[in-house]
Amino acid sequence: MVTYNLIGAGLIVIGAGIGLGQIGGKAMEGIARQPEAAGKIQTAMIIIAALLEGLAFGALFLGK
């Protein structure tokens, strides 16, 4: 039973990691293309990362 929980937690972390990597990478690309929009991109990036993180933490929290 404990191992299933741990596998679930691992899957959550993998998923969240992929998602965060995508957000960060795309934001970097965006900033490289349009450096003048860096502030706006950064804000949007942090909001989306926070939403994703909330989801991942929620899943970990419920799966504990």
Binding site: I46, I47, A50, L51, E53, G54, G58
Partner: protein, 378 residues
């Protein structure tokens, strides 16, 4: 001259940061010394217990503890008042009467009632019972929980920071009456206030309504940020890592955006225009669950989990000096743990700001959605 000044500043920051880590280490170091007396104690379980104990709220303000030469556990700190609403009305006493006992062996008699503390929760013992008996899951069978309004460690933290913020910001506000530019510490606060107003409140809520909500956003931002930072000091506060505290903050935001929502907001939530009528009830259910449950839940879990995780990581890294003592030697294990916990602490200082920023930002975003005005039908 300038370079020298910069170097001094940098060194001060480094020393201060190191001091925090060392303070943390001292706190745990003195606690662990007891594991050496009287046979082998499993370090792993003790570390786990210690971390779990830190994450929970406690009834005493304990700074550190040590085992004296006579083998007696001594606690350094101060007691806090316990305020209970029991079956016999209001009961108050100081938490020192429990003598730091946490497994229900010390019984405090007040107003003809017996109280015990089990796992940081105060229970009222049944009248005829003399000692606590518990079942195999360590739940007491002859005692029940009472309504606890005690000034616990977290409450002390909240009050402390509340009064500190009140003092700082009332001084800042007063300064504008006599001069244009604030002086002293207020000069540090002014750009932060402007940052919250211009970067968080204004773009997310909109030019027309932001003034009404800036007060709340400033309050949560500084409250969370300062409490997060205090949580990193050796005082051992873990206020924003208490789920009750974060839940309360999330409920404040929920109440504010629910009650300031305008006609358009409720219209879009309950009877979404521009969608086939058949889908509208389904969308209404989804929107209502999203607005009333998921939004505050994500707010509260994010803050709670981030801060708890940070505390667990820091304390685990400090515990390296005990768990790896055999394989790396005392110096090696202590060095490793100092280096690792130092850098994690630096990251945690960033996280402390980031979480306060995100909480405020999302609150502003949710409020902005509720008060947004739709100029044209779509």
């Amino acid at each position: 001259m300038k370079i020298a000044q910069k170097t001094v500043k940098f060194l001060t920051i480094v020393v201060l940061a190191l001091f925090t880590t060392v303070g943390y280490a001292l706190e745990s170091d003195t606690k662990y010394d007891s594991s050496n007396d009287g046979g082998r104690v499993n370090t792993k379980t003790e570390v786990e217990e210690y971390i779990l104990h830190h994450l929970k709220d406690s009834h005493d303000f304990s700074l550190w503890s040590y085992t004296s030469v006579e083998g007696e556990r001594k606690h350094v700190g101060f007691p806090l008042p316990v305020i209970l609403w029991s079956s016999n009305g209001l009961v108050t006493f100081m938490s020192s009467e429990f003598h730091h006992n946490d497994d229900g062996h010390v019984i405090v008699e007040k107003n003809g009632l017996k109280f015990v503390k089990i796992h940081s929760k105060i229970h009222e013992l049944d009248q005829e019972a003399a000692t606590v008996s518990s079942d195999e899951t360590h739940h007491a069978t002859n005692a029940h929980k009472v309504l606890d309004f005690s000034i616990t460690k977290s409450v002390v933290g909240i009050l402390l920071i509340g009064f500190l913020l009140l003092f700082w910001f009332s001084r800042l506000a007063k300064q504008y009456k006599t001069k244009q530019v604030p002086t002293g510490f207020a000069r540090v606060l002014e750009p932060l206030v402007l940052y919250v107003r211009d970067e968080i409140a204004k773009p997310n809520i909109g030019e027309k309504h932001y003034r009404r909500f800036t007060g709340y956003l400033l309050t949560v931002f500084f409250f969370i940020w300062v409490l997060n930072l205090v949580g990193l000091t050796p005082l051992g506060f873990n206020v924003t890592g208490q789920i009750a505290v974060t839940a309360c903050l999330a409920i404040f935001t929920l109440v504010i955006y629910t009650f300031s929502g305008n006609k358009d907001y409720w219209m879009h939530m309950i009877w979404m225009p521009g969608v086939p009528v058949l889908f509208r009830p389904i969308l209404a259910v989804i929107e209502l669950i999203g607005a009333l449950i998921i939004k505050p839940f994500s707010l509260l879990v994010r803050l709670f989990a981030n801060i708890s995780a940070g505390h667990i990581v820091i304390m685990s890294l400090i515990a390296i000096m005990f768990t790896l003592k055999e394989s790396l030697g005392v110096v090696g294990a202590t060095g490793l743990s100092l280096v690792l916990s130092f850098f994690i602490l630096l990251i945690e200082i960033l996280v402390a700001f980031l979480q306060a920023y995100i909480f405020t930002m999302l609150s502003a975003l949710f409020i902005g959605m509720a008060v947004a005005e739709h100029s044209e039908a779509h």
